[in-house]
C-alpha cells in the first residue's frame, strides 16, 4: 500500500444506508404510535420519527438497532411494509431486559433507532420465478416485508407460497393477515403448529413436512427461509430433496450483535459479518459453515 489510508470512501452496502447520520452509533428518537400484542410474549411496535417526517426507507429483510433510553439496545428486523415508509414497524419477542422494557412502552414513548442495516431478501432476483417462503416462529416477522413487496408487485412473480410453522396455535403471528392471504387465489398459504389441542382445525406437524405437499418449480424458484437455525437446516434438506439447487435458497442468520456496522466483531460467522454481509445470505455463501458446531 502506497499510503496508510488511501481515499477513505464510504462505500454503502445498500442505497437505503445513505440516510444514516454521520455517526452511525447515535440513535435517532422515534415515537411509539402503536403497541399491539401479537401473542403472549410477542408484540408489534409502530414507530415514527420524533423530530422529522422524513420517510424511513428500507429493504425487506433489513434490521434496526432499537434503543430503550438507559436500558440498552437490541437488533430487531423490520416487519412493516416497505411501501409505507412513514410507519416503522417491528415485531418483537420479549425475552431479555431490553425487549421486556419495550413491551412496557406506551403510546407516545420514545425509542432510539439506528438503521436500517444489512442486506435483505432477494426480492429483485426472485422476479419471474416462483417464491417459496418458509417461516418458523417469529421468523415470519422479517419475511413479512418481502411478502408485502411481492404481493404489491404480484405480476412480477410466479407462484407464491408461504409455509409457516409455529409452536402452538396461540403462537401464530399476524393471524388476520394470514387468513386474508390464504383467501387469495394467487398465493398458497399453509400454516402448521408443532402441537395443538383438539379445537385447532389446522395442520399439526413440522413446517418441513409441508414442502413436499406444495407445488412450485424447484429449478425456477427462490426460497426464503427464516426461523431457528435447526428449522432452517431441515427446511434446506427438504428443499434439496424437492430438487431445489442450493444457490436458489436464502436464509436469514442471527448472532449476537452490538454495533451493526462491522466494528464490534460479535456477529462474526466464519468470515461473514451477519450485520453487514447478511443477515440474509444465499445458502451457497455459508453452506460450508452451516453445519459446524459452535462456529
Amino acid at each position: 500500500m502506497e499510503t496508510l489510508v488511501s481515499d477513505v470512501k464510504q462505500e454503502l452496502p445498500t442505497d437505503s444506508m445513505a440516510v444514516l447520520t454521520a455517526d452511525p452509533m447515535i440513535p435517532e428518537p422515534f415515537r411509539v404510535v402503536q403497541r399491539k400484542p401479537e401473542t403472549e410474549d410477542t408484540f408489534t411496535l409502530v414507530l415514527e420519527r420524533a423530530q422529522s417526517d422524513r420517510p424511513f426507507e428500507f429493504q425487506p429483510g433489513q434490521f434496526n438497532m432499537l434503543y430503550v433510553f438507559g436500558v440498552g439496545e437490541v437488533p430487531i428486523s423490520i416487519s412493516g411494509d416497505p411501501a409505507q415508509p412513514q410507519r416503522l414497524v417491528h415485531t418483537i419477542r420479549a425475552v431479555g431486559t431490553v425487549t421486556r422494557a419495550m413491551q412496557k412502552l406506551r403510546k407516545g414513548a420514545i425509542v432510539g433507532v439506528r438503521g436500517p442495516f444489512g442486506r435483505g431478501w432477494p426480492v429483485l432476483e426472485a422476479q419471474q420465478q416462483d417464491v417459496v417462503i418458509v417461516a418458523g416462529g417469529i421468523g415470519l416477522a422479517p419475511l413479512r416485508p418481502a411478502l408485502y413487496h411481492i404481493l404489491r408487485h404480484r405480476d412480477a412473480y410466479g407462484r407464491v407460497v408461504l409455509l409457516y410453522g409455529a409452536r402452538t396455535p396461540e403462537d401464530i403471528l399476524y393471524i388476520k393477515e394470514l387468513e386474508k392471504w390464504r383467501g387469495r387465489f394467487d398465493m398458497e398459504v399453509k400454516v402448521t403448529v408443532d402441537r395443538a389441542l383438539g379445537d385447532w382445525h389446522g395442520h399439526v406437524g413440522v413446517v418441513t413436512q409441508l414442502i413436499p405437499k406444495t407445488s412450485f418449480d424447484p429449478q425456477n424458484a427462490i426460497a426464503m427461509i427464516c426461523g431457528p437455525e435447526i428449522m432452517m437446516r431441515f427446511t434446506i434438506y427438504e428443499l434439496q430433496r424437492s430438487g431445489m439447487p442450493n444457490d436458489r435458497i436464502y436464509v436469514s442468520m442471527e448472532r449476537n450483535m452490538k454495533c451493526a456496522i462491522g466494528f464490534c466483531g460479535h456477529c462474526q460467522y466464519g468470515p461473514k459479518f451477519i450485520c453487514k454481509d447478511g443477515p440474509v445470505f444465499r445458502y451457497t455463501e455459508i453452506e460450508n459453515l452451516f453445519g459446524i458446531r459452535e462456529i
Binding site: 496508510l4 440498552g72 420514545i110 456496522i261 462491522g262 466494528f263 460479535h266 462474526q268 459452535e294
Partner: protein, 379 residues
C-alpha cells in the same frame, strides 16, 4: 490523515545526546509525546517528558508465557521488543464514551461530545505496530463505515518509527512480512546505531510534518556510512527473529481443519483469560454498556474492549454459541490467520509475538497454526 510519502525525504543524523532536542521540538509544536517507559517490570507506553523517561539500558527477555526486563549493559534507548501495550490503546481506547444524551419533553437530545483531543506523537512505533495500525485502518475506516473516535485520533497522531534492532524470541514479523523495517506510513523514522564510541540516530522524514521537524532539528545530513550502519542494524534484526510462521496455504488449511481434534486440546489448556486479545495490536472487538445517572434523565453509551474468549461474546437467546474453550480458540486463531484475509484483505496478525509472551499457559500461535495445518483431517 493520509500519510503521503514524503516527496523529498530527508535523512539526517541526530547524535544520541541531542535526543532531548527532538522532544523539545515536538513539545514546542504542541505534541504530547507517548512512548516506551519502564513501569511495573515491563516496558509500557505512557506520556514522556524527556529522553530520561525512555527505557535506556534496558532490554527484555520473552518466551512462551514469559516476559522479563534486564539490564542490557549498553546505553541504548531502544534495545527491546514490544511489551504488553500497543498503540491501539490510544487510537481505539479500552473504554470510550460514545455519546451522552438527556431526556427532554419530546424524547432525547445529544449532549455535547467529548472535548478536543490531545495532539499525540507516538514515539517508538515498530514496523509490526505500524502494520497493526494499518490493519485497524482497514477495519475502522475502510469497511463501509468510519469510526469517528478512531478517525479523529488517527488523524491527530504523529507517527515516529524507531526501527527494530532487537527482536525477541517470540517475534515473527519477518514471516508476516510486516517488518522489521518500516518502509512507509510514518512521519519520521529513526534507527538507533551504537557502534563503538558513536551513538546516534539516523532520522528519515516520511511526511511533510516529519520533514518540518527534521528541518527544525537542523542536523547534519547522514553520511553514506551512517545510513549503511543503520540499514545493517535492521537487517540483522530480520535474521534474529525467534519464530517463524509459514503463511503459505495457511488460510485454506485452517478453513479445512475447523473440526481438527487439536482445537479441543488447546481448549483444555486455554484459561480464557483474554490476555492475548488485550495485548494484540489488531484485536478490535468491543462491546457496549448503556448506563443512566441516578435520576434516569441522562444516559450514556460506553464502548469497551471485549474478547471472543468470553462466554458472553457469542450469547444468543439464552445460550452461548461458542460454549467450549476450543471453539473460542478456534474463532480467535481462525479469525487472525484466515477469515481476516476474507474480511480485510490481510492477516490479522503482524507477528509481534505479544500473545505468546503474555499467555499465562504459553500457548503459541505459531505452534498451534503449524499443528492445525500439518494435516488436513478427513471430514
Amino acid at each position: 490523515m493520509s500519510k503521503k510519502k514524503d516527496a523529498s525525504p530527508q535523512t539526517v543524523t541526530l547524535p544520541s545526546n541531542d535526543l532531548s532536542r527532538l522532544f523539545q521540538v515536538l513539545q514546542s509544536r504542541g505534541y504530547t509525546i507517548l512512548g516506551p517507559t519502564v513501569r511495573d517490570g515491563a516496558i509500557v507506553y505512557d506520556e514522556l517528558d524527556s529522553p530520561d523517561d525512555l527505557p535506556r539500558g534496558w532490554t527484555d527477555e520473552q518466551e512462551k508465557g514469559r516476559y522479563r526486563l534486564k539490564k542490557s549493559g549498553y546505553g541504548t534507548y531502544f534495545s527491546f521488543a514490544v511489551g504488553p501495550h500497543s498503540w491501539k490503546q490510544y487510537l481505539y481506547p479500552p473504554r470510550v464514551r460514545l455519546w451522552q444524551m438527556h431526556k427532554n419533553g419530546t424524547g432525547f437530545e445529544l449532549n455535547a461530545q467529548n472535548g478536543p483531543l490531545k495532539k499525540y506523537a507516538f514515539l517508538g512505533v515498530r514496523s509490526c505496530e505500524l502494520h497493526a495500525i494499518e490493519i485497524l485502518d482497514r477495519v475502522l475506516l475502510q469497511n463501509g463505515f468510519e469510526d469517528p473516535t478512531y478517525k479523529a485520533r488517527r488523524k491527530e497522531a504523529l507517527i515516529i518509527v524507531v526501527q527494530c534492532t532487537a527482536p525477541a524470541s517470540t517475534c515473527f514479523c519477518a514471516s508476516m512480512q510486516t517488518g522489521p523495517k518500516a518502509e512507509r506510513g510514518f512521519d519520521l523514522a529513526m534507527t538507533e546505531v551504537a557502534d563503538g564510541e558513536r551513538h546516534y540516530f539516523v532520522l528519515q522524514s516520511g511526511s511533510d510534518a516529519g520533514r518540518e521537524i527534521v528541518q527544525e532539528l537542523a542536523c547534519a545530513a547522514a553520511t553514506a556510512e551512517e545510513i549503511a550502519a543503520a540499514e545493517q542494524a535492521v537487517k540483522a534484526a530480520a535474521e534474529r527473529m525467534g519464530r517463524t510462521l509459514d503463511t503459505h496455504g495457511l488460510q485454506a488449511a485452517l478453513y479445512a481443519n475447523r473440526e481438527h481434534p487439536h482445537w479441543r486440546e488447546v481448549g483444555e489448556r486455554c484459561l480464557n483469560c483474554t490476555n492475548c486479545t488485550q495485548v494484540c495490536p489488531t484485536c478490535f472487538c468491543t462491546t457496549v454498556e448503556d448506563i443512566t445517572d441516578l435520576t434516569g434523565a441522562t444516559a450514556e453509551r460506553w464502548r469497551r474492549w471485549d474478547s471472543c474468549f468470553t462466554m458472553e461474546f457469542s450469547y444468543l437467546h439464552g445460550g452461548s454459541v461458542r460454549s467450549s474453550a476450543g471453539a473460542r480458540y478456534r474463532q480467535w486463531l481462525t479469525h487472525k490467520l484466515a477469515s481476516w484475509v476474507d474480511q480485510f484483505g490481510a492477516f490479522g496478525c503482524v507477528g509481534c509475538g505479544r500473545c505468546i509472551a503474555w499467555c499465562p499457559v504459553g500457548i503459541d500461535i505459531t505452534e498451534e497454526a503449524r499443528i492445525m495445518c500439518a494435516e488436513t483431517v478427513n471430514q
